[in-house]
């Protein structure tokens, strides 16, 4: 008898698979349980947002941005309205800008909580998911009171925000921030030191800073390698230059560092919120002076901000009409995902889930 003949197993993961966080598909070649090749297939959730936008006016595009990264709709709203405002040279009232910043930071916390919960679920721990969604629920309640929606807010407008904060809302946010600090400590106590958890994520899916930059990674995926790059600090927009906060960075660029960076970002967001809520102007306009029909002057602009997932950019080409000639979103989930096939080779099926979860993608944003 010679050697037993073995062959590679072609395994189709997704688009209906619990750990691809939506309709993402990877075709992997397996040698035993070791991946020898991984080919991502995208586009199952493509809705043609950018093409649709070409026949819509700017206010009508805002609800479409809600549906890109549906875990972090507020930052998407902001990147669009911010780009248009910059093009038209509009000024936004201070109270409106404060409200925007507060909802964006709340959104960052909510988004990181979703990531934390689902990541632990991927790794096999059931309970953190429920705890995280409990806290996220409180943020969604706050958003609901503010703008009447829980997921797709359609809150921001060119020149301001649609709704002013209802009475007592700021105090509720203050309460939330205070209790969230304690919750965060609880979560660290519950999960961050768990031996099984650490052994699952330490040293898994590591890459260095050069690779990260070459692949155009941003957000926690980039910062985990030690590159201190946060657009809130490096190219301050909104009111971020007024507040004190740190940019957490990792060292090894592995899943563990990404975990630590994201968890620390929640704390930094809470710090920003604390300061913003203190300085919140007691009264003022929430809508600036905006022409009735928004027609940015002919030209083009690229604006980028720091979404929970990384650098989200909005590129607008205007011909002076009410609709954009071309609208392009740089979606961090899509760009960050490009490194996946490289990371997966040589890993096991189990690590596929760990690494994909660690990148933190939202399919609505990948496919746009």
């Amino acid at each position: 008898m010679g050697v037993i003949r073995t062959e590679e197993l072609l395994l189709n993961v997704g688009p209906q698979h619990p750990s691809t966080h939506g309709v993402f598909r990877i075709i992997v070649k397996l040698d035993g349980e070791i991946i020898t090749e991984a080919t991502p297939v995208m586009g199952y959730l493509h809705r043609g947002t950018e093409k649709l936008a070409e026949s819509l006016n700017y206010t009508q595009i805002i609800p479409y941005t809600d549906r890109m990264d549906y875990v972090s709709a507020m930052t998407n709203n902001y990147v669009l309205v911010h780009a248009v405002e910059k093009m038209m040279g509009l000024t936004v009232p201070e109270r409106a800008e404060f409200l925007r910043l507060i909802v964006m930071e709340l959104q960052r916390i909510a988004s990181h909580l979703v990531w934390w919960g689902t990541y632990l679920l991927d790794i096999g721990a059931l309970s953190p998911f429920l705890y995280a969604f409990n806290d996220r629920e409180r943020i969604l309640q706050l958003f609901n009171e503010l703008c009447g929606a829980r997921l797709t807010y359609n809150y921001m407008r060119v020149g301001g925000v649609k709704w002013d904060a209802p009475e007592g809302w700021i105090d509720k946010v203050k309460d939330f921030v205070k209790s969230m600090y304690g919750k965060l400590d609880d979560y660290h106590a519950l999960v961050s030191g768990n031996e099984i958890f650490l052994s699952r994520i330490k040293g898994v899916g590591a890459y260095d800073a050069e690779t990260a930059i070459a692949y155009g990674l941003s957000g926690a995926n980039l910062r985990s390698t030690g590159v201190k790059w946060d657009l809130r600090k490096n190219e301050p927009y909104s009111l971020y230059d007024r507040f004190e906060f740190d940019v957490p960075v990792g060292r090894n660029g592995d899943c563990y560092d990404r975990y630590v960076v994201r968890m620390e970002e929640i704390r930094q967001s809470l710090r920003i919120l604390e300061q913003a809520l203190e300085q919140f102007p007691p009264e003022g306009e929430t809508m600036g002076k905006v022409p009735r029909v928004i027609r940015p002057p002919a030209g083009e602009i690229y604006v980028r901000i720091e979404s929970p997932r990384g650098e989200i950019g909005c590129y607008i080409v205007s011909t002076g009409k009410a609709e954009p000639y071309r609208l392009k979103f740089r979606r961090p989930s899509f760009v960050n995902l490009q490194i996946l096939p490289k990371l997966l080779v040589g890993e096991s099926m189990t690590n596929l889930v760990t690494i994909l979860g660690g990148i933190d993608i939202v399919l609505g944003e990948v496919d746009c």
Binding site: I123, G124, A125, S127, N134, I196, S199, T350
Partner: protein
């Protein structure tokens, strides 16, 4: 004392056997029904949820409804599955899980079979379930099921070794593999229980047992986030119900076994508590272990497949062997 298994072979004796076995089956089915309910409730409370609370008072009929649904579901067999094996696997998984219960003594005079090699009987038969799982994974003709089946084979075979070796210490102390005798040798109160002299063996046994049960943190064969459902991904309806049933009957069996081997079986922990019947003590210790299993499930993440093997061969096996040596030295020096 006259015990029913000492009777001469006759139709009457056979009838009695059948009746007792049916009664045990009923007990086990009720246990499984309410263990599932209890698990969902306990984990629900641990996660700030309600758990099932709609079907029947307090949701008590939830599992009954679930099982009824499974029984009336269409029986689907994948077109390219190996039909004979596909049909065989669920039965092969369930039958040994129920047969091992024969040797469990619930009270002094309550074993169904007083076997001299009770523990070996348990281990030998429960190993058959592993084969059933591999067969299920193979026969489904599904890649996820195959991966789950292979993982399961590797895992269960690896963990059976420390599981058996961890009990060797108990056998040395009690000089028996008969489960009834093992409990009798732990008579007296809690300081006579095997859990204290055999604390290493107990720890190894519990870890290996959780792994044998394929439960979190060792639920790799059915790791949902990777393999969707693992070996039973193609099963539905009552065939799936049989796998579920086997899994929970093994929980029942392992909880019984732990109680017997390490926690003194039906013995009361203190002399003052002797008035409580042995069966109640047995049930209490048993429930404690079942609860712990659910508790672990709500707490821990899952191990990776290579880490799982490392744990079995590099940590549990040496510990179990060291325990045998220590026990031998203890018996030699301390008597």
């Amino acid at each position: 004392m006259q015990r029913f298994w000492d009777d001469p072979v006759s139709w009457e004796a056979a009838g009695r056997y059948a009746l007792v076995a049916l009664a045990l089956l009923a007990v086990v089915i009720v246990f499984v029904t309410y263990a599932i309910y209890f698990e969902r409730k306990v984990i629900g409370w641990m996660q700030f949820r309600q758990g099932p609370n709609r079907t029947g008072p307090l949701g008590l009929l939830q599992t009954v409804a679930d099982v009824a649904k499974l029984l009336v579901k269409e029986d689907t067999i994948p077109a390219k599955a190996d039909k004979a094996l596909f049909v065989l696997a669920p039965a092969l998984a369930f039958i040994p899980s129920f047969t091992v219960l024969a040797v469990i003594p619930y009270g002094l005079n309550l074993p169904f079979a007083d076997l001299n090699v009770g523990f070996l009987y348990y281990v030998a038969l429960s190993g058959v379930t592993t084969i059933a799982i591999v067969i299920a994974g193979w026969a489904s003709n599904n890649k996820y099921a195959l991966l789950g089946g292979m993982r399961s084979a590797a895992q269960m075979i690896s963990y059976e070794v420390p599981l058996v070796l961890s009990v060797v210490g108990v056998a040395m102390l009690t000089e028996s593999l008969n489960l009834r005798d093992i409990v009798l040798r732990q008579e007296g109160y809690f300081w006579h229980w095997n859990v204290f002299p055999q604390i290493i063996g107990f720890a190894v046994f519990v870890v290996a047992a959780v792994s044998e049960l394929n439960r979190t943190p060792f639920d790799l064969p059915e790791a949902e986030s990777e393999l969707v459902a693992g070996y039973h991904v193609e099963y539905s309806g009552f065939r799936f119900a049989f796998f579920m049933l086997a899994e929970y009957v093994y929980i029942y069996a392992i909880a019984c076994l732990t109680t017997i081997l390490f926690l003194g079986g039906w013995n009361a922990p203190f002399p003052q508590l002797d008035f409580i019947p042995g069966l109640v003590w047995f049930a209490f210790k048993f429930a404690l272990i079942v609860f712990s299993l659910f508790w672990i499930r709500a707490t821990l993440p899952r191990l990776r497949v290579d880490q799982l093997m490392g744990l079995a061969w590099k940590a549990l096996l040496p510990l179990a062997l060291a325990n045998i040596l220590l026990t031998a030295l203890g018996i030699e020096w301390l008597g």
